[in-house]
Symmetry: C2
Subunit: 814 residues, 2 copies
């Protein structure tokens, strides 16, 4: 092979014969723009350009390269999204389907379809009154949504191929559910009336499967992984419950006043409810009033079940959770590394199979991040390139995912935003800057906030509720608001808007103050619906918690946990939805005022005038409001069941109107929420303890690394003028879709400042993954060693079980 063949890729994707369709057209177009000789900037310096080869060879070469770029980008995307490699597109037709199904428009369509399907239950009978739709309307809407889902599935089939499609479990389940829903929707449309459609409870599957709900999917997987040990302890729990139920039945069934233990079934139900602490001490009282020692039974039961086994449950789940989190991190890490390995192989040239040049990297990035500017692509390359050679080695390339999210900015020469202003202005702003940074100012503000807090409390205490409250603007409100407004303004001018808004606390201050202003305006113009904004005033008090280090830690952790908490909340809502549908199908309209006079909880549903002694009062039991009459009511009812206080009133009410099998629904719901809640607790515990350990472990290190208290990951890249010009030249010869203005600016900047080089800083916020990287540092080395030896451990159900057998068929030409 000649030296001139240097630009030939090591591996060619797919066979050149089958290389038709979308990709080829695209590639040849680019080729035209690019003209003949690709200008290889990096290569230029190391070896002489061997002259222009035959144009047709050149064209097919360029085409091969484009295909390789595309495929490498897909690999990297799969690594990022944790997609299994066996779903990798295997031929150009699959590729086009893959590209179609992997963009935000398509994702959005998925999301909207999933949401639409779920929202339909607002309008289907039993509907929320104001949103009721006729049967043919909502059935047609449903059919429409289902057709959309079918279309999405077809695209997936086209991309995956039939074999992979069938092997992909989630997709198969989705297909089956789709099929059933389709038939049911048609039946509804034909009969013009809804039948018992419990399968609607499966609708969340369509939502969960969409790309944007990845976090929810991960949560669900984690929940399922924690299930086996959970179920084991649950069995132990239920076992003790049954033993105590038998015991309780024998001990208390002789008491005719004790309705809680008169049959074995009641006995079990009573103890189940007692486990949730919901009917205590009621359940004890009849026997307690007969024999004071009977309390021992209940105390022993609660001590064993509630205070021991329930905690054991948490411990077991927490322990599993810990392991699962680590395993997940490991498998993700190795998956990413494998993706990088694949991509690297596609990017190297046959001649120099140990490095990637800027040209190839740039080609990759054009596919991977089409909207990234040429400057940022170049800077990313510079950040990756840590070796002395001017190519990226595999080791350099492994940092790809760490570097890809960086936001690049030239390092500022000055400290403040107002450094370039005229002297007088500078002095004024400098003064403000010093003022807002001073301790005195801070503590003065704390005092103002504290006084404001006390003021609000006093004001509320002496409040006369006869005065229509929304008409009334106390003067203190205006005074404090003015102070806060002035503070915000001073801070923004003193620190500069960028520095100001980069702190979460400042953002919080700002939004609370702005909200308060809006509230004031709403009051002034008597806009009733916005009056609630005013009562958010006390939120300002939250600023007081900044004073103490621990609160800052805790609240920072809180903010960091928030996204994950939200996704857990969403997961819970998915479960709520399914239970709400089942509840509505079976229990809609079964409870109403005075419905349950034969049950033990009649009082809670009673709405009647009763005579006590010689007075007549309206006895209002509100519990008929906790019903399954529409999806919104169902959600509220389910939330009440989650909190578990008095949930048995709802259960017994419904049971008395239906059969006693209804209890199964409520008990199952309790156990499911218990699982999710335990996971949430385990998650918070894990995240918090992890973060505390981390900050303890890295206290000194951190202080060294980040003297300015910078939180986040910072990379540096120095660009000399010669380099910048050379790069600019290089980009001028590459396809036109790269925006060069940013690169031009760099040159202009250097020209203006007179420096021969500019240092760029790339920043991103620190993620859990970064923390884990540091925490497991030593183990990670072992994992990598294991991985590169190729004897990957079996990672259970995780996608990486397919790591070392990529399905893609690769062969080299020549």
């Amino acid at each position: 092979m000649a030296d001139g063949d240097d630009d030939v890729p090591l591996i060619l994707t797919w066979d050149n014969d089958t290389n038709s369709g979308l990709l080829t057209d695209d590639a040849s177009e680019r080729l035209d723009e690019n003209g003949g000789g690709g200008y290889d900037i990096m290569n230029n310096t190391t070896m002489p350009n061997p002259g222009l080869p035959d144009p047709s060879t050149q064209a097919s070469m360029q085409q091969s390269w484009e295909m390789n770029y595309q495929e490498a980008a897909i690999y990297l995307q799969e690594g990022e999204n944790n997609d299994k490699f066996f779903t990798h597109p295997q031929n150009p037709r699959a590729l086009s389907a893959y590209l179609f199904a992997h963009n935000h428009l398509f994702y959005l369509m998925e999301l909207v379809t999933g949401l639409l399907l779920m929202m339909l239950s607002l309008s289907e009978a039993p509907a929320v009154p104001s949103l009721r739709l006729d049967v043919y309307v909502h059935a047609t809407l449903e059919l429409l949504a289902l057709v959309m889902v079918a279309f999405e599935l077809c695209m997936k089939l086209r991309w995956l191929g039939l074999n992979t499609f069938i092997r992909h479990k989630r997709t198969m389940v989705k297909t089956c559910v789709l099929f059933i829903q389709f038939i049911e929707a048609i039946v509804v449309l034909v009969r013009q009336t809804s039948h018992l459609r419990v399968t609607r409870a499966l609708r969340p599957i369509f939502l969960v499967d969409c790309r944007y709900c990845g976090a929810v999917r991960r949560n669900l997987r984690q929940i399922f992984q924690s299930l086996p040990p959970f179920i084991d302890i649950l069995v132990l729990l239920l076992f003790f419950m049954v033993i105590f139920a038998i015991l309780g039945f024998f001990l208390f069934s002789s008491n005719p006043a004790d309705l809680y233990f008169n049959t074995l079934e009641n006995s079990i139900v009573s103890l189940f409810v007692l486990l949730t602490t919901a009917n205590f001490p009621d359940v004890m009282m009849p026997s307690y009033s007969r024999n004071r020692w009977s309390c021992v039974f209940f105390i022993v039961y609660l001590s064993i079940e509630l205070y021991f086994i329930m905690n054991l449950l948490l411990a077991v789940v927490f322990d599993t959770f810990n392991g699962v989190e680590k395993m997940k991190f490991k498998s993700l890490l190795l998956h990413k590394r494998s993706a990088i390995d694949h991509a690297f192989q596609l990017l190297v040239r046959r001649q120099r199979p140990d490095g990637v040049t800027l040209k190839q990297f740039d080609g990759l990035m054009r596919h991977y991040r089409p909207r990234m500017s040429a400057r940022d692509r170049f800077l990313t390359y510079k950040a990756l390139n840590q070796s002395v050679t001017d190519m990226l080695s595999l080791q350099d390339f492994y940092k790809f995912y760490e570097v890809i999210g960086l936001k690049w900015k030239a390092r500022r020469s000055g400290e403040h935003w107002f450094d370039d202003l005229p002297h007088t202005a500078f002095l004024i702003f400098k003064g403000i800057n010093l003022l807002v940074k001073s301790k005195t100012f801070q503590y003065a503000m704390y005092i103002v906030v504290a006084v404001n807090g006390i003021w609000i409390l006093v004001e509320t205490t002496v409040w006369n509720s006869d005065v229509s409250w929304s008409r009334f603007v106390p003067w203190s409100y205006v005074v404090f608001l003015t102070i806060y407004g002035v503070e915000v303004m001073l801070k923004i001018t003193g620190l500069g808007p960028l520095a100001y808004f980069s702190s979460g606390w400042n953002l919080f201050d700002f939004s609370v103050t702005v909200l308060a202003f809006l509230g004031l305006i709403a009051l002034a113009f008597n806009m009733e619906p916005f009056y609630f904004i005013v009562v958010l005033r006390p939120l300002q008090l939250l600023r007081l918690f900044k004073i103490k280090q621990r609160y800052r830690n805790v609240l920072d952790t809180m903010f960091e946990l928030f996204p994950r908490m939200a996704s857990l909340g969403l997961t819970l809502i998915i479960f709520y939805y399914s239970f709400a549908i089942v509840g509505m199908e079976f229990f809609a309209d079964v409870v109403y005022p005075n419905c349950c006079n034969t049950s033990t909880v009649a009082d809670a549903y009673r709405q009647i005038n009763v005579t006590i002694g010689n007075r007549t009062v309206l006895q209002e039991g509100y519990y008929y409001l906790n019903n399954f009459n529409n999806i919104l009511s169902s959600f509220v009812t389910l939330f009440e069941l989650t909190v578990v206080n008095n949930w048995y009133i709802t259960m017994e009410g419904v049971t008395s109107q239906t059969t006693h099998w209804s209890r199964l629904f409520f008990m199952t719901f309790y156990i499911v929420t218990m699982v999710v809640m335990t996971i949430i607790v385990a998650f918070i515990l894990d995240a918090f303890v992890f973060r505390m350990n981390y900050s303890r472990k890295n206290k000194q290190e951190e202080a060294l690394e980040d003297p300015e208290g910078e939180k986040g990951i910072v990379f540096e890249a120095e660009v000399s003028r010669a380099e910048a010009l050379q790069t600019l030249e290089f980009y001028k010869h590459t396809p036109a879709n790269s925006s060069l203005s940013s690169l031009h600016q760099v040159c202009v900047l250097m020209e203006r400042s007179g420096h021969s080089s500019v240092v760029f800083l790339g920043r991103r916020s620190r993620t859990k993954s970064d923390l884990s990287m540091k925490m497991y540092q030593e183990e990670i080395e072992e994992w990598y060693a294991e991985y590169s030896r190729g004897n990957l451990p079996h990672l259970g159900e995780s996608p990486e079980s397919d790591l070392d057998c990529p399905v893609i068929t690769q062969h080299s030409t020549n």
Copy 2:
């Protein structure tokens, strides 16, 4: 100094001049018994006995040695009990007081006094009816007990000296409380009537201070150490509560039907109760029935407070707990090491300051464990002596606490207990042994247990409660009991009683079976009070959980946790006691049937005929039973408050009869139990996760170390015949209080078996400390290095802050 002075201790305790009183008498007595020349067995072999020195020197020497043994034993005791060294007795008078105050009789006296004082509240007004005593009786009893406490304190004063006494915080608090109680008891005796005696709530201090309650003291310390972060988060919690209370007041106070938010105080109380999930959804219902969107307020509140901040609370406590546990372990470890260092210095001879001979070790052990047999003392010495020399080096001696608890037994030559029986009997027993060890037998038993379980369930379901149950012995009961009885007998004979009872599971089987037999006998003889034993039958089913590994793990952990759980329970009871006293002083006899008709919880206290529609029913609200009328009722009431369901009914009932300040009592109690409960959860989590981590970490190691699955620590010591005889000879010359029969036996055993040596195995069960030792292996080395460099870190409030400045004044004679 001559070679003959070899037996001179390196350090002499106290001045010989002050060396009078108890110790000296004792020492000279021993000296007389011992005769002239101490026979130094170990020394014998290394250097010639230099002949008898001057008898008087010898006597004073012996006396010095005895004193040193005594003091070394005290140091080791202090190390074991984690007593601070600054309370070390500093002169012979202090020593006699120390010895008086450090034996089980004295400890028992402390315990009995403490218990007596606490039990008095059963008889003081408001007393448990059947235990009521006249004022002069219980006041006299109290005075008596207080005099006992005063006597104990005097002994302590004598031992510690005034200076140390005042510095010792716990003792000072105790003294103050004693003083107050004394005055109050006298006042009660003079006035012949009890006044408001809230100080009785401090009585548990006397119990907690006694030696046997060390675990409770440690728990209390741990709770106090976890308090600062706990309180921080609690403040955050209360802050959000107040914000939401203000918001709720503004939003809902306009609704006349909503009694929960009509004043700011009610608003705060309602949200406090809601935080405990106790009045949900009741508190939401009035506003929910008016406007369905008001549920958002409650959902947001509960999500933030209950599901986020409360979990954060657990996380923070768990995190602190983790750190505290490790710190505690570290300080204990170093304290022990320091104690060993002190003791070692007192035991070495001037000539050879790097080793302790058997003679010195034996002298120490006679003081440290007076009841240990001579054989065991010798074996302990052998177990410690790992070096080639025949003296204990300091490194050997550091293992003291690991070795001291071992139970020694000669290694059996045979496998089974019946190996020595005649052949026929051997074959029979061997058959039984094989049978009970076979899988088939085990699974057959599981099936029997399962069938029994199903049987019990069916029997209970078809139970006719009209039949007087205690008269009725079902035949199935007899059948299953027979099977269990036969199984127990087979196992005992097959495995031998020792092997059988060494397993916790077998012990459990045995006790359940024996209980069931007792129940049967009780039934046969119609002994009513024992009928409850019969209903314990289902406990047999617990055996089914042996099948699965995870259950074995969990249940083993459960048993391991039990002692610590019990001490935590005791700690809770201490808190209960104080709150019960305060409750009784303020709320005795305030609730009774129909007491609270003006309150919102009137229904729960009502006992009246009401007319509903056209029927008349007895409406029985049992809550008047939850009162503070005597200490037992108070405990039950407090347990109900701990479970927190419907606790506000008790609170509101009491509040409506007293002032609304009473709520402070209930809320404080809630927060205190929350602290203790959170600690319990953190403890279970910590213990469980620790154990899981440990077993994961040591899975392979363990398999190697303990091929037979032995759980526990095993030490080996081989004794040759010559050694045994020599030792016997040596002991014949040492003071008579050592029992030599065990040593004789060893010689006889060797004679009989014909072996020239016997291997003894010392076993003890594994403790948390052993696990910690393994877990923190690497860190322990660091700690030791730190310790030996002398730059001990400041360990906070822990006793080891005094480690490197022993108060004892030591000087050497000569």
